[in-house]
């Protein structure tokens, strides 16, 4: 019996140790900007400071409001000189490979902001919770931090974000989603969740506009299309875009697998259907792992087509896997901003931050996305500070005055004012996978064109979300 007790104790300790061993702990509060490294960042990037931050932000910084006069409620502690922003992030689930670099980007950016005087002299802290891409865990994570933060600078996943959208609205909490559901632009859906970048459905139109133009150059004027996705808004929104694109352009959809990719199941039937359809173009939205299963099973049968899909479907890890050669040939990538190493002042700042952080951060397109997410919240916080109201409602109100949040070329500028049609982002970056780029120290994404707007995406009358629940 004594042995048993000792064993139970050891096992319990092991469980605790295992739970604490994760690199991305469930609960983390990060002070960004306090150490020597971060001070170095500030010193080295002084020049960039003046050119990189959005115009509104710079103006707001110059406005002097005595901290004591600030109106605050949650997440802003004037006495302690801190502002806390939250993240409900998938650090251990299927999108962890993309979310980890996003948070690294945010951390570096806030460190740089803090090193440059913070916001009104207050330093920005991060309060992060792991959601494992589970809706229930996401709701619980938000409940845990909702009274600790003034804004959510990152929330992973469409269904997860939608699940907390009512609570976000109730709290007047702005939230930047790492999801490009077109409903975030629709002002009737989740009014405090902020769109960033080209939404999934327009991304599909842009990607297909690009692929069809390449097909035409190769002499195929009547290509056919196969589409497939996982269920849920992450899958159905881009599928709605692809379907509308096909209708507008008179393209035949020879296989419609919308919602038929079920993670955890054998994906060969989906691949078989795509192969049997003989499609020239394939548009897929799913997790990177399930995409590799679908694509691998199609490749096994010698199937060749032009493949594309929503940004999170792709993972640079494909370039160091057995499908590397084929994916270089077949994948036509789209991304909501410039990939790693893009030619812009915003990306130059990101590169400087990475270098100065001294951290071992591999080249990854999602690091810049973290910086973009943080920049949006930064602009809102600066505007709120300038208005003297840093309550959550004050931050929301300030955000809704920003019609040109500029990312200095790293991503298309965003407008958070006006109607749904006014706010829609139509521009995207086109890129191709490249092992050579990866081997040269890049992220493996070779930019083909920045700020691309295809003819279908340009003329599409966007008045509401492409996919409604």
């Amino acid at each position: 019996m004594k042995k048993l007790r000792i064993f139970v104790l050891v096992l319990a300790l092991a469980l605790v140790a295992a739970a604490c061993s994760s690199d991305g702990d469930d609960t983390t509060t990060t002070t960004a900007g306090g150490d020597a490294t971060e001070t170095t960042v500030a010193t080295e990037t002084t020049a960039a400071t003046e050119t990189t931050v959005a115009t509104e932000t710079t103006a707001a910084t110059e406005t002097t409001v005595a901290p004591a006069d600030l109106k605050t409620d949650f997440g802003v502690d004037v006495e302690a000189g801190t502002i806390t922003v939250g993240q409900t992030a998938d650090l251990t689930g299927p999108f962890a490979p993309l979310v980890a670099p996003i948070l690294a980007g945010q951390q570096m950016y806030w460190a740089w902001v803090n090193g440059n005087g913070g916001i009104g002299g207050m330093e920005v802290l991060m309060e992060t919770r792991d959601t494992n891409y589970q809706v229930e865990q996401h709701i619980a994570a938000y409940d845990e931090i909702r009274d600790l933060v003034v804004a959510i600078s990152h929330t992973t996943g469409s269904p997860q974000t939608l699940a907390i959208s009512d609570a976000l609205e109730e709290d007047s909490m702005i939230a930047v989603p790492a999801t490009w559901y077109s409903g975030w632009t629709d002002t009737n859906i989740a009014p405090t969740v902020l769109h960033t970048g080209n939404p999934y459905c327009l991304e599909a139109m842009n990607g297909l506009d690009w692929m069809v133009s390449v097909e035409a150059e190769e002499g195929n004027d009547a290509p056919t299309l196969a589409i497939a996705s996982i269920p849920g808004d992450f899958g159905f929104d881009p599928m709605a875009g692809a379907t509308m694109w096909a209708e507008i352009n008179g393209i035949e959809i020879v296989y419609d697998g919308s919602g038929k990719i079920i993670p955890g199941q054998d994906q060969k039937p989906i691949a078989d259907a795509i192969v049997a359809s003989g499609a020239d173009l394939v548009y897929v939205t799913t997790t990177p792992t399930t995409f590799s299963e679908v694509y691998g099973a199609a490749l096994q049968q010698g199937f060749e087509a032009k493949w594309s899909g929503s940004g999170p479907t792709y993972n640079p890890a494909f370039l160091v896997s057995p499908i590397a050669d084929a994916i270089q040939r077949d994948w036509y990538g789209t991304f909501y901003m410039q990939p790693w190493g893009g030619d812009s002042a915003g990306m130059a700042l990101t590169m400087q931050l990475v270098e100065a952080s001294g951290a071992d951060i591999p080249a990854n397109d999602y690091v810049g996305l973290g910086v973009v997410e943080a920049m949006i919240v930064h602009a809102a916080l600066e505007a709120a500070y300038a208005s003297g109201d840093m309550t959550r409602a004050g931050v929301l109100a300030a955000l809704r005055t920003l019609d040109n949040v500029d990312f200095q070329g790293m991503a298309p500028a965003e407008n958070y004012t006006g109607s749904t049609a006014d706010q829609i982002q139509r521009s995207i970056t086109l890129w191709r996978p490249s092992v050579a780029n990866l081997e040269a120290g890049g992220s493996g994404s070779e930019i083909v064109e920045s700020d691309f707007v295809g003819p279908t995406a340009e003329s599409f009358d966007f008045q509401e979300a492409c996919f409604q629940f």
Partner: protein, 329 residues
């Protein structure tokens, strides 16, 4: 049934033949992985009467070891550079299987052995706890990105008749056959006979001088090794083109219907059940989709093994090869 399907396929012309051949080859390859997983589960169950819920976690751990050995430290390849790369990779995979077997041995000694004499339910709960611990540690070891295993077959395929088969799938089937032959030989060995004796009647075996504890440890070691083998081959093209990831561990649960169909305590049943589940899933995916079967909903292929399991249990409640249990009441 297979003959009927073949006739059906031939009636549909070459396209139907290709479809049937590909569904069959894919089902066999998938079934081989399920068989490997089921073998490990049954072996541990036979010896200890415990269903090991940490089996998937051990599979992922084994796949990680293979990825690490083959692609990061090139062990033992760096010491045997004169050997072909395929052999070097096989050696890495073998070492990974051995390391995982040792992990299984240690787990049994630390976590399972102290529970001898305790209610089986408690032991099962311990395996669930082990699953959480091993999975968490393995996820940390893997990192956020999947790890390719660096296998020599890559995305290569061969055409065998109308079927297009990945070389890694052929390797999977070959390894499963080797594992089966190895197990058959093992059960004829001294330790194999001892294991059969312990499985048959633990007290009688102990009375004959057989160390039940040693047999339990051996069962866990072999079970973990088989789990690792399944983990490695389920992380190869085309099943998972980017290697072992933090979702690999969950794959093992798909083999549960296999052990129920075959019979929880039957080695033969595990293999037969594995192939039945693989083929059922593959045929359902190939034939029960499209507009005609849209009423079945999404992902019916994943449900099919459980339907087969229900039918089998209705006819044979102890599985196809399971031992019928008779109780006096």
């Amino acid at each position: 049934m297979t003959l009927d399907l073949l006739v059906f396929a031939q009636a549909g012309g070459q396209e139907a033949v290709d479809k049937f051949a590909n569904a069959t080859s894919s089902g066999i390859a998938l079934g081989a992985i399920y068989a490997l997983l089921a073998l490990g589960l049954v072996l541990i169950y036979k010896a200890t009467q415990v269903l090991n819920f940490a089996h998937g976690a051990l599979a992922a751990l084994g796949a990680f070891f293979a990825a690490y050995l083959a692609t990061v430290i090139n062990f033992p390849g760096r010491y045997v550079t004169f050997l072909p790369t395929t052999v070097q990779w096989i050696l890495s995979a073998l070492v990974a299987v051995l390391i995982t077997a040792v992990v299984g041995l240690v787990l049994e000694r630390l976590a399972i052995r102290p529970m001898i004499g305790e209610p089986l339910f408690s032991v099962v709960m311990i395996t669930i706890a082990l699953d959480i611990v091993i999975r968490t540690v393995t996820d940390d070891l893997i990192g956020t990105n999947p790890r390719p295993l660096g296998d020599p077959w890559g995305a290569d395929v061969v055409n065998i008749g109308p079927a297009v088969i990945a070389k890694s799938e052929i390797a999977t089937v070959v390894v499963t056959i080797i594992a089966l032959v190895g197990l058959a030989l093992f059960f004829r060995s001294r330790y194999g006979v001892a294991m059969r004796a312990v499985a048959f009647d633990q007290e009688a075996a102990m009375a004959q001088g057989i160390s039940a504890g040693r047999i339990f440890a051996l069962a866990w070691a072999i079970g973990a090794g088989l789990a690792a083998t399944a983990g490695i081959f389920s992380s190869l093209f085309p099943r998972s083109s980017i290697g072992v990831s933090n979702t690999t561990a969950f794959f093992a649960f798909r083999a549960l219907p296999a052990i129920v169909i075959g019979g929880l305590d039957s080695i033969t049943g595990a293999v037969v059940g594995g192939f039945i589940v693989g083929l059922a899933e593959s045929y359902a995916g190939a034939y029960l989709t499209g507009a005609t079967f849209s009423f079945l909903g999404l992902g019916f292929a994943g449900v099919m093994p459980y339907l087969v399991m229900l039918v089998v249990l209705l006819v044979r409640p102890y599985g196809l090869f399971g031992t019928e249990e008779i109780r006096r009441v």
